[in-house]
Amino acid sequence: MSYQTVKIVKGSGGWGDGLVLTPTDERHVVLSVTGGGVHPVAAKIAELTGAEAIDGFNTHVPDEEVMAVVINCGGTARIGVYPKKRLPTIDIYPGSPTGPLAQFITPDIFVSDVGIKQISLVDEATAAAAASAAAQTQSKEGGASDQSSTTTATATQERPKTVSQTQAEKGGLMSWVVRFGNFIGYVINTLLSSGRQALQIILQTVLPFMAYVGLLIGIVNYTGISQVLANSVTPLASNPLGLLLLSFIVAIPVLSPILGPGAAIAQVVGVLMGTQIGAGALPVQYALPTLFAIDGQVGCDFIPVGLSLGEAKPETVSVGVSAVLFTRMVTSPIAVAIAYLASFLL
């Protein structure tokens, strides 16, 4: 039988660098440890590669014969068991390393949120390169699997006894219950991994900025600089024409790229203006035009990067930078004017 190579990439909510798999005579099994028979993802991999898909719940397969493992776990156990044995692991659910075995879940051996669409056949040229890499991992695995073979046997034999598994095969109401349970599992796992993602951005970006803003407001308030600033900015910000002027100034092509980075200046001015509005020094109606007046420079520092993210050609970038910078001088005051009119609805 001739074997083919497949490439498996992570899904939209997934994790991992992706896997390139080729079955060999020793390692020719795609183990589906998903419950309810062989999972379509395992079947697809087997179909493309010429390997054999086996339901890991019913059948015990020695680790030495396993090419890859398909799991549906975002929690603690299975997600770590197979990566710990250095077996390439494909998780149906979106998930990133968690649980007690998190340190073994590495991007070269684990990929998550995988569906049928994430699996593709690799052509001959890249397959050759992958084969040598696969050979390396297998030699590494050889040593590891000897040590873990005893634990493996107990681990795999325990699993077929799961109640949900035996029930799923019987069909009828219980199989529906199992399917419902799997669906709930998917929902919960997505939410958990989203929570982790949210916490990450809060730790890395939001909290440091809050500390910085907190310190800044603290200093400005405590030393009385806020009073001085208020006295100087308020005349500009307390009438519509002043706001128009402010929006024009920040949009001047020489200034706007300097004022832009990280929206740091817009944020600080926003906080200061907010303090003034809160204290009653500026009317509430001015909040809306102010929001646009302090933001006329938004993104002007980022134009070449933003355009190249959109895969723009060099000519487009060179034309686009001036186009954006010049139109801002007009559109920025227009924005304030519209916001001023809209603020009467407030």
Partner: protein
């Protein structure tokens, strides 16, 4: 002892040194308890929803929105920001012909703060443009906070439409003035043939 000018200087310094950081700590605590819990749950929900909707469906909606100027500079930037968040939103520019890319960028980047009024997750790192000003409104007139959020969002949409159209026009002018017309005609032809970068499959 308390009359010693040196000691008085030291204690004045100590008092205000501590006072300064106490004030900063109060501000920090206010930010963390005021904004963070909402942001955290909202981020979680939005990330999950984006995962469930799936990449292909998002891409299809974006390509559909890119066809007409009115949606290209309103719906498209909104969806891009909402689903991909800042700064990945700009990658959707790849579905557009070269001559529309600067306008799309201008339009999208201008929406990265108005969108935070209703969807703080879209640009969580720069939330204070909105949160700073709105905190003052919350303090002075809490009943107007929600209206302000909606107005900021709506006016934002109008502004990005104007910016998109203006920059699209300006790009056209600069292409002509700079003598790039031949180059961009080639890009347009390549686009018409369906050679969109980044959509290899």
């Amino acid at each position: 002892m308390g009359d010693n000018p040196v000691m008085r200087g030291i204690s004045w310094f100590a008092e205000h040194f501590i006072g300064l950081f106490n004030e900063s700590a109060t501000q920090f605590a206010g930010l963390v308890t005021g904004i963070l819990p909402l942001l955290m749950v909202m981020l979680t929900a939005m990330y999950a929803i984006t995962t469930w909707i799936g990449e292909e469906r998002v891409t299809r909606a974006i390509q559909w929105a890119g066809r007409w100027a009115v949606t290209r500079y309103t719906v498209m930037p909104f969806l891009a920001m909402l689903l991909l968040t800042n700064p990945m939103a700009y990658t959707f520019g790849r579905f557009l012909p070269e001559r529309y890319k600067p306008a799309f960028y201008d339009s999208t980047v201008s929406f990265c703060h108005p969108i935070t009024a209703l969807f703080p997750h879209a640009n969580a790192g720069e939330i204070f443009v909105w949160a700073g000003v709105s905190a003052g409104v919350m303090q002075a007139a809490p009943d107007k906070y929600a209206t302000l959020a909606v107005l900021y969002f709506m006016v934002g949409l109008i502004v990005i439409l104007i910016r998109g159209i203006a920059t699209q026009w300006m790009t056209g002018v600069l292409i002509k003035r700079g003598g790039h017309e031949e180059t961009f005609k080639r890009y347009d032809e390549a686009y018409a043939e369906g050679k969109i970068q980044g959509v290899a499959e």
